[in-house]
Symmetry: C2
Subunit: 212 residues, 2 copies
DNA sequence: GCGTAACCTTACGCACGAGTAGGTATGCTC
DNA sequence: GAGCATACCTACTCGTGCGTAAGGTTACGC
């Protein structure tokens, strides 16, 4: 017989990435509980015990997904954050990087922000990442304020930062559901809403991206 | 024997509300899947078959929660929306009503926006409610624009409205996790961020609530 | 060419929780 | 105070899906 193998033997590191790819895909479509380990294994082109051998239990697998996608996102944004630029340019670059990432990794985004938020064991993990991001934004605002010689209570800054992050996430969700939408254009719209505010926009003021 | 009953017989309508209260509480703490019908029944002070008899399956029960909380929220906001007021006042009143609601119904909020979002069968339901809200906000902006004799593409308006709603939801989440925070104060902060924008705020401009 | 270790499989145990069958008590109506 | 509807219970069935035991197969060192 010697059935033609058809399944190649691959080194662990490669299989792990394939498994994570499959897991992100299935988790994002079905949700954490509705996703079955069997489906993830099948989608990865591997059998279930391999998943357990490499990535551990279902929860551990999900956390692994969370970490990989979260790290990727943070990296994508970090590259855009030169601390000595003016605040609006930094914000613009951060937004552009962020929406670019979401546009390119819609599944990863769905796992991170649609699934992890409600499920008890992961909400904390997610909240930590979110808090780091809020911290960064708040720090940026604070820096800009000090440059102008002004000061604002920490709580106020944090709340404004929260609103900014929330608005951005909301648009990211919109982007994830509209495959035809352009990430950069979405970033521009977000910048308008965030930087100018509704009041200004209603009076015809608009913000335009720098020539870069 | 005639064991002292200790459990009173109550009319259906009352029990249904108790069950919904318990369901909202348990769903918000555990999430849809992790919540068990047994726990909900126990929390409502009733046995499981009663829950099935009155509210149907687990999914139907969750949808019932969704509808009750959603309706309550819409009612709370609707009361504040007098269509002939200026846009900033309408926005302010809507925000005040919304944050007031979330502050008073933190569990309900958690069910609506943290649980329903990720779970496949309910995401659509939730998205519909959300879309209605976005529509209302976009309509408000459009109305304000026409009053000034200006016009903006529909998509742009929708996106701005999305950002506004997202920012508000994000702050609502923050509020739900900070029991000591004051809803009205949070609404003021949101109004500042939304109406003036980060750029204005950095230059020291602030928005203050009208004397009412 | 042969051991050994890593890769990979099929097939199962087992717990948990949704949903139900069938029966008991209470109160309301005439 | 008989009849009937409604409120309510204990105790079960059964599917589903996580996690694993025990055994095949391919590559690689020596």
């Amino acid at each position: 017989m010697s059935t033609p193998p058809a399944f190649k033997r691959l080194p662990r590191a490669v299989r792990e990435q394939q498994m994570l790819d499959a897991a992100v895909k299935v988790f994002s479509r079905r949700g954490f509980h509705a996703a079955s380990m069997d489906e993830i294994a099948e989608d990865a082109g591997i059998s279930k015990p391999m998943v357990y051998a490499y990535l551990g239990t279902k929860e551990e697998l999900f956390v692994a997904c969370l970490h990989r996608e979260g790290t990727r996102m943070m990296h994508a944004i970090a590259g855009a954050a030169a601390p000595d630029l003016p605040a609006d340019v930094r914000l613009w670059r951060g937004l552009k990087a962020f929406f670019g990432f979401v546009g390119a990794h819609r599944d990863g985004w769905a796992v991170l922000y649609r699934q992890a938020r409600g499920e008890q064991p992961f909400a904390g993990e997610l909240a930590t990442m979110r808090a780091r991001l809020v911290e960064v934004v708040a720090g940026m605002l604070d820096h800009a304020l000090r440059t102008e010689g002004r000061e604002v209570a920490g709580t106020d800054l944090e709340v404004i930062a929260y609103a900014l992050v929330g608005a951005t996430e909301s648009l990211a969700d919109w982007l994830a559901d509209h495959p035809e939408a352009d990430p950069e254009r979405t970033a521009t719209r977000m910048m308008n809403a965030a930087w100018l505010g509704a009041g200004q926009l209603l009076h015809g003021v608009t913000w335009r991206p720098p020539s870069d």
